[in-house]
Symmetry: C2
Subunit: 237 residues, 2 copies
Amino acid sequence: MSNPLLRKLEALADLSTEDRQLVDSICTDVHDFHARQDIIREKERLDHVHLMLSGWASRYQIMAHGKKQITAILLPGDFCDTLIALLGEMDHSIGANMTCRVAFVSKDTMLALFDRPAIARALWWASLVDEGIMRAWLVNLGARDGLPRTAHLLCELHARLTAIGMADGDFFTVPLTQEQLGQALSLTAVHVNRILRQLRDRGMVRFERNRVSIVNEIALRALCNYNPSYLHLNDKR
Amino acid sequence: MSNPLLRKLEALADLSTEDRQLVDSICTDVHDFHARQDIIREKERLDHVHLMLSGWASRYQIMAHGKKQITAILLPGDFCDTLIALLGEMDHSIGANMTCRVAFVSKDTMLALFDRPAIARALWWASLVDEGIMRAWLVNLGARDGLPRTAHLLCELHARLTAIGMADGDFFTVPLTQEQLGQALSLTAVHVNRILRQLRDRGMVRFERNRVSIVNEIALRALCNYNPSYLHLNDKR
DNA sequence: CGGAAGATTGAGAGTTCTCAATGCCTGTGG
DNA sequence: CCACAGGCATTGAGAACTCTCAATCTTCCG
C-alpha cells in the first residue's frame, strides 16, 4: 500500500523525485487505533500532527447535554490537525470509526515538508480543500432538508473515496452506523433510516449494512445540486 | 483609527518594532464598499487578499433555489480569504453588510508578512481562530435549537467585537436585518423575530433597531453553554 | 406625505424528533 | 449446532420545532 499522502499531493502539484522520497519517508511513527477509540481528545496538547494512513475517523464535539456533532470525516491522506496540533489545544476530539492506522508526524518533519515549495503548495491546496469541505458542510446543514442533505454527504464521500482509490466504481463502504451518519448530518438515527429508505425507493442509492452503491448518480446529484468544485479534484495548477 | 490587523496580531504574538511597521504599512491599496455591495463574487480569481479595515461583511453562498446561507461574519482585522485568493477560485461570495473599508494586499506583501516569524506565527493563530469559528458554527447549526443557537451567535459577536474594541461594554451594533441574521442562523426572519422576543422576555438581550445590549450575560451564556475558548482570546503563547 | 423596507404577530402546514415496539444480524457460550 | 444477548435497523404514532403565508405595524427617507 503506497503512502496515501503522496498520492494526494501528487494530484495537487508536480513533485520532484526528492519531494516524493521526503513525503514517503515521514511515516516512521505509526500507531493503530481500533473502532470507537479516540485518536485525539479535547484539551490535549500535541507536539505532532496526525496523518491518516488507513481507516476512517471523525472529528466531533460533544455538547453539555450529550448530543454529539461530527464536524468532519477524515480519510486516508488527510491530516487531522495541521494547525491545531502545532499551535493550540484541541477544542474537540477525533475518534476512529474503524481500525485506523495513523502516522504521528513531528513538528520538525512538518516544517521540513513546508520548506519544499512544491510540497508546501500541495499542502496549502489540501488545507484549502479541507476548508471548502467544512464550508460545504455548513451550507449542507444550514440550507438543505434531510433528504438532499444526506444525498450531498453521499456524493461527497463517493467523490473523495474515488479520488483516493477507495471506491469500486459506484460501490463503496461507509463504516458508520445510521446513528453516526445522523451525528454528521444532524439528524436522528430514526430519520436517517427513513431518508435512506426514500433514497432506495427512488432508485438512487442502495445502502446495505455498510455497503453503499450509487444506483443513479445523476439523479442523486440533481437532488442536492451537487457541485464538486470545492474538492478541487484534478485541479493541479 | 489604528490598523485593526496590527491590534489583532499584537494580541497573538510579541511583535518587534519592525514587525509593527511592516504590518502597519500593508494597507496602501484601500477600497470602500457600500452596504449590499459584493466585495468578492463566486468564481472570481484574485491576485490579492482582502483585509477588512472597517465595517461588517458576510461570506455567503446562494443555493439553486435561491436560499442564501451566510457561512461567516467578517469584522475589522479579518482576512476574507487567506488561502483561496492566492490559490484557487472563489467558491462563494463575500458581501458588505454596511459601508466597509477593505485593503487589497498583494501576494508579495503577504509573503513578506509570512517571512517574519512573529508575524507568521500570529497569522497562523488567526487562521486557527477562523477555523475554530467555522467549526463552532457547524456545531451551532447542527446541535442547537433556534433559541440557544441565536444566543450563541450573540455571545460570539459580543466577544469578537469586544476584542477589537467595537463593543461598548454590554452594548454593540449589529448591522444585520433579521432576515440576514436568519441566513446566518439558518432560520427564517419570522422565527428570528420570535426568538429575539423570547430573549427579551427572558431578560437576557435587548435588540432595538441594530443596537444590541446584553442584559444578563451569565444567563445568555448558560442558555447555549457558551465556551469562548475557540476564539483563543488573550492566548498569547 | 407616500412608499418601501423591515419588524411583528397569527394560524396552519411541514419536517424532524421522541418514545416505543419489533425485527434482523452477529458473535458467544453451552 | 443451537440458543441467546446485544447492537443495529426498521416502523409507527404523536409531539415539538420551524416554516410558510398573510396581514399589520413601524420606521426611514425622499
